[in-house]
């Protein structure tokens, strides 16, 4: 095959190869930069927060399937401590750990309610849910704390 190429064409092949490499390097650099800022999870761009009244939820808007991520919920210590997650959202995830362990779990048709015992006092308390997605995709859910309206959770999970 090489014998059928003129010397000019060989040079053109080489130049195209070099250009392909350099374009690939640039793309790789962009992918790494995107990963550093959190486009694929685990960076400042990925951090999202929602709040209702004094309660708030922090979660990653970008994550990867089969990799753990944490939803952190906090609220004033003196309030009732029931965290409600909707089941439609949880269908796509496994909860691998809840910190601290809830005192009870109550299931109904649409939601799961986790109760956490607290002591009255100043300050805020927090609970963390560690989850893993079963697959990639866009997922929307909601988390309610006590009697406050639910906080929307919107995530893009990479495969």
């Amino acid at each position: 095959m090489a014998a059928s190429f003129t010397r000019y064409q060989q040079t053109r092949c080489l130049r195209r190869g070099w250009l392909f490499e350099r374009v690939g390097w640039a793309l790789m650099a962009m992918v790494i930069a995107a990963a550093v800022i959190g486009v694929f999870g685990g960076g400042w761009l990925s951090e999202a927060e929602g709040a209702r009244g004094e309660a708030s939820v922090r979660y990653p808007r970008f994550a990867r399937a089969h990799a753990p991520f944490v939803i952190s919920i906090n609220w004033p210590a003196q309030d009732a401590a029931v965290v409600t997650l909707d089941r439609a959202y949880l269908e796509h995830f496994s909860i691998t750990e809840i910190r601290p362990t809830p005192s009870s779990e109550v299931v109904d048709v649409q939601s799961i309610h986790y109760s956490f015992e607290t002591r009255d006092g100043a300050g805020r308390v927090a609970a963390e849910f560690e989850l893993r997605a079963h697959r990639g995709g866009r997922f929307n859910g909601s988390i309610a704390i006590g009697t406050e309206p639910p906080i929307a959770v919107r995530q893009l999970i990479f495969p």
Binding site: W25, M28, I32
Partner: protein, 151 residues
Amino acid sequence: MDLVIRGVAVYLFLLLVFRVSGKRSLRNATTFDFVLLLIVAETTQQALVGDDASVTGAFLLIVVLVGTDILLSLVKRWSPRIDRLLEGQPLVIVRNGVPLRTRMHIERVDEEDILSAARETRGLDSLDQIQRAVLERNGGISIIPTRDAGS
């Protein structure tokens, strides 16, 4: 971001460890070295991946490792000093048939290694036939025969 940090950290650590281990460690292919490489690979894998079993995570790690390698190659091209620091430099270990024993001792090369390279690459069977033997950066030994032996 943690994937990027882990990938770069493990790459640089392995680079440092194998740089420190010397040129011959890269070249020697004994059973023990093979086993050592397997164990290092297995240990490294857990540190790199952790509990992330996603395809995206695997792709990201590969891009980070290859990208780090490319970046280092560009840095070495830009700075010959850094190149020498990271890769070392070729070292003459036999001159005019005379083995330079101090250098051979430091680099953990013995006469049999040199004669083995001479037989394999040049068909030579004694040091007298070697004008120069060079321990290359990759741990290999290059043999330059004397004029009589080369003809």
